[in-house]
Symmetry: C2
Subunit: 151 residues, 2 copies
DNA sequence: ATCCTTGCAAAGCATTTGCAGTCAC
DNA sequence: GTGACTGCAAATGCTTTGCAAGGAT
C-alpha cells in the first residue's frame, strides 16, 4: 500500500506503462503538483501552478493529463456543479468535507464500516454496488456561521 | 410519509409564498412533473416532458423554475459532471445509486446511523458539519457486467 | 398598477476536439 | 521510424442572462 514514498516520477511512469501510455514532462509536472497538495485544485489552478515550473504547457494538455491520471487511478475527479471540477491526488481511502460558504474542500480521514454499506446494498434490488462516495457539508473554520458579520 | 398527499399545486404555492415568489403555470408544471417521477431527469428532459402538457414553455424557464424549486427546498440538484445536472423532486431522506454504465440514478431507501457520521465528524478539526451526502456507484440491472473482462 | 416571470436569442464558461508539428520509445 | 502527445484555437454543450412583453397579486 505505501508506494507514495517513491519519487512521483517513478509512480507515474509505472502507472502509465501499465496502461500503455507514454511518460511526458507535462504529465509528470501535473502529477507532481497534484500529489504535493491537499487543496483539490481546479484544472485551471493546476495549469497556473504548473506553468511556473514547466517551460510550456497548455490548458488543454492539463485537462488531458488530468484525465489520464484519473484513468490510471492516480487521481480522482470531484464534481460539485458549482463551477469547475476539482482534482484530488490522494488515492488512499478518505472522504471530503465541503464548505457551503467558501466551497473549499477538506480531506476527512476515515472509512465507513463495510457492513453499513452492505446494509444499504440490500435496498438496491439488483443494482450491483461496486463503490461509494461520502461527502460531508458544513462550514469550515474560517466560515463558522456564528457571526453573520463578514470581513 | 411526507406531506405529499396534498395536491402539488398547494404545496408549491405555499413554498413560493414563503419565499416571496409568485405561482405560475410553468412552475406548477415543472413541479408536477418532477414530483411525479423517480427518474431524476435533466433540465432538458423536464423541458420535453412538460412541453407536452403546457402550451408554451421555454428551456430557459425550465432552468429558472428548477432553480426556484431548489431554492424553496422542493427539489434537489444532482451534479455528477458527466453531462447535465439532474433534478430530484423527493425531499425525504434517501441516497442515490448511480450506474457507471448508463449514468441513470436510482433511489436507495435508508439512512446512515448518526453515530457513524459523528465518528467522522471528529476528524474534521473545527469544520462544522451540517449534513452529508452518500452516493453508491455500480451497475444497474440492465448493465450488469456479465463478462468481467479486464486488461 | 406594480414588478415578478416568461420567452427568445445571444452570451458565458468549462471542457473537448481537430490537426500539424514534436517527442517518447 | 512510428505512433502517441502537445499546443493552438475553434468548437461543443450546458446553463445563464438581457430585455421587452405578459401575467400574478
Amino acid at each position: 500500500m505505501p508506494q507514495s514514498h517513491r519519487p512521483p516520477e517513478a509512480v507515474l511512469r509505472e502507472a502509465l506503462e501499465a496502461n500503455g501510455q507514454r511518460f511526458t514532462e507535462q504529465r509528470a509536472a501535473v502529477y507532481r503538483f497534484l500529489s504535493s497538495t491537499d487543496k483539490h485544485p481546479t484544472a485551471d489552478e493546476v495549469f497556473l501552478a504548473v506553468r511556473s515550473q514547466v517551460p510550456v504547457i497548455s490548458l488543454a494538455t492539463v485537462y488531458k493529463s488530468l484525465e489520464t491520471l484519473v484513468g490510471c487511478g492516480l487521481a480522482m475527479k470531484l464534481n460539485y456543479g458549482d463551477g469547475s471540477a476539482r482534482y484530488d491526488g490522494r488515492t488512499d481511502p478518505h472522504h471530503h468535507a465541503r464548505c457551503l460558504e467558501c466551497s473549499r474542500i477538506f480531506d476527512v480521514a476515515g472509512d465507513l464500516p463495510s457492513d453499513e454499506i452492505s446494509e444499504l446494498k440490500e435496498g438496491t434490488e439488483g443494482f450491483h454496488v461496486t463503490g461509494y462516495r461520502l461527502e460531508l457539508t458544513g462550514y469550515c473554520t474560517r466560515c463558522q456561521p456564528v457571526e453573520p458579520a463578514e470581513a
